[in-house]
């Protein structure tokens, strides 16, 4: 595998424009013939773009103390423009965790300002700089965010019309089935770029829907 994708470990540098010119040209020659690496470059670009979107989403200031208390000293600041060091297996979690801040914010809005949500891993400081726990925490943090949002929705489902709850739950089940199928497929071929990307996209859709649902509850 290493021989087939000699540039895999350098793709994030390429996406960030940090490769020297000679290496960039060599990598681009490789990209012309390697669909897997092109797909990975596309995914890395999306992660970067998602993070760029997050930089504009500043959480309400009254939420910040709870978030800050939760992440404590474990977080490290990655100023925008810093290099992403994500490997192929991390892409699914990385793409999904980019919107965890929205999920966490919605949960916090429901729980009140003093109660931190469990495990936000990507947050935006009042300064606008993204604060990110290392990407290796992505999968666990994704699960925590989903669990936290799910708990909020369960506890406050009576705030929504039963028909709306039915639609949301049915749609979440649909997405869960899609995630399960993608995970099964990926288990048979862990290095498949499309399956990794597809799983990441489906996880992102689940978090996005849960965030929307939590926002509906908060607004009701």
């Amino acid at each position: 595998m290493t021989n087939r994708h000699p540039w895999m470990a350098r793709l994030s540098e390429y996406v960030d424009g940090e490769l020297p010119a000679d290496e960039r040209l060599a990598l681009e020659r490789h990209l012309e013939t390697c669909a897997d690496c092109r797909a990975t470059v596309t995914q890395l670009g999306r992660v970067r773009d998602l993070a760029g979107t997050l930089a504009d989403r500043e959480p309400p200031r009254d939420l910040w103390p709870g978030i800050e208390a939760r992440i404590g000293g474990a977080a490290r600041v990655l100023p925008f423009g810093r290099r992403w060091t994500l490997t192929m297996p991390q892409l699914a979690a990385a793409a999904a965790l980019m919107i965890v801040v929205g999920a966490g914010g919605a949960a916090l809005a429901l729980r009140g300002t003093g109660t931190p949500v469990a495990g936000p891993v990507a947050v935006v400081a009042p300064s606008g700089d993204p604060t990110v726990i290392p990407a290796t925490a992505g999968a666990a943090s994704y699960d925590q965010a989903v669990t936290s949002l799910g708990r909020v929705l369960t506890e406050h489902r009576d705030r929504l019309d039963p028909a709306t709850v039915r639609v949301l739950e049915q749609s979440l089940q649909t997405i869960d089935r899609a995630i399960a199928r993608a995970q099964e497929a990926l288990a048979t071929d862990p290095n498949d770029a499309y399956l990794s990307a597809h799983l990441a996209e489906t996880m992102r859709q689940k978090l996005n829907l849960m965030r929307r649902a939590a926002a509906l509850v908060a607004a009701s």
Binding site: A163, V167, T174, A178, H198, E201
Partner: protein, 285 residues
């Protein structure tokens, strides 16, 4: 429409008396409309006058509050105690006015509005005709239909179909359970995704543009004129691909069952067609 009928029936059974509000007033050229309606219907129509006319049918214990804060005109039903009942609005605004509508159990219709448009409901469909600027549409349960739109166009559903025709601009359409159909679209940036549904894009693929159509369980159809310049990436886990012979597709890389790509013309545009389980079709039109 079922929602409207059902709610009216409930109102009739409850013996609620209906009342009409009808008022017309001048509005500034830079005025914006923000209307909230918890339940009922909203129909906003663009007109040629520099005035706004608000007609509402509502319960006798409710009144329609129209207030202005800065350049924003707020319209909302109010009641001394409790939530207002079902309200049917018909509002005429200057054609170029920016309009923002939100509701919960509300069917929304907008016609001939040329300003920026934002419409959000929870249980209710959204129909927009003759949009002339940026559009943001959002509902949970209900079909969304958009005709027109310029600039940034965002459509988000959960359960229901999404249909977009004649739009010009950057399009993002996302739903979970429902088909997405785009027809007569001119765009250099298209992102369409659903989990359980088909996607059909009939429009232009322009040089340098980016087009991404993804589903988990559904078919993908790209209907474009031959002679386009695009690098097309196709991916599926358990699906198939077919192209009209007119495109003379020569696949340059193949990984059976997963991903392959091919180049049409100069390959200037980037096109991604992906479905985990479904047919991917490239059609000439």
């Amino acid at each position: 429409m079922m929602l409207t009928t059902a709610t009216l029936a409930i109102a009739a059974l409850a013996g609620l008396q209906q009342q009409q509000t009808d008022t017309t007033f001048a509005v500034a050229a830079n005025a914006r409309l923000r209307l909230s309606n918890h339940a009922g219907t909203v129909r906003v129509t663009g007109g040629d006058q520099a005035t706004m006319r608000v007609r509402a049918t509502h319960g006798s214990r409710d009144h329609i509050a129209i207030t202005t804060r800065g350049t924003v005109i707020h319209i909302e039903a109010e009641r001394d105690r409790g939530m207002p009942n079902f309200v049917e609005y018909e509002v005429t605004v200057p054609r170029g006015m920016a309009v923002e509508l939100d509701g919960v159990e509300t069917e929304m219709t907008v016609e001939g509005v040329g300003g920026d448009l934002s419409v959000a409901s929870v249980e209710g469909g959204i129909t927009v005709r003759g949009a002339g600027a940026a559009v943001d549409l959002n509902t949970v349960e209900g079909d969304i239909s958009l005709e027109g739109g310029r600039g940034r166009i965002s459509v988000s559903g959960v359960e229901g179909t999404v249909t977009v025709t004649g739009a010009r601009g950057d399009l993002t359409v996302e739903t979970v359970e429902g088909d997405i159909t785009l027809d007569g679209v001119e765009s250099t940036n298209v992102d369409l995704s659903t989990v359980d549904g088909d996607i059909v894009y009939r429009g232009t693929v322009q040089d340098g543009g980016r087009y991404r159509l993804t589903s988990h369980d559904g078919d993908i159809e790209l209907g474009v004129a031959t002679g386009l310049n695009a690098t097309v990436s196709v991916a599926t886990f358990d699906g198939s691909f077919e192209a009209d012979p007119a495109f003379r597709v020569q696949i340059s890389e193949v990984r059976p069952g997963r991903r392959f790509s091919f180049t049409l013309g100069t390959g200037s545009a980037r096109v991604e067609l992906e479905t985990f389980d479904g047919e991917i079709r490239l059609r000439s039109r």
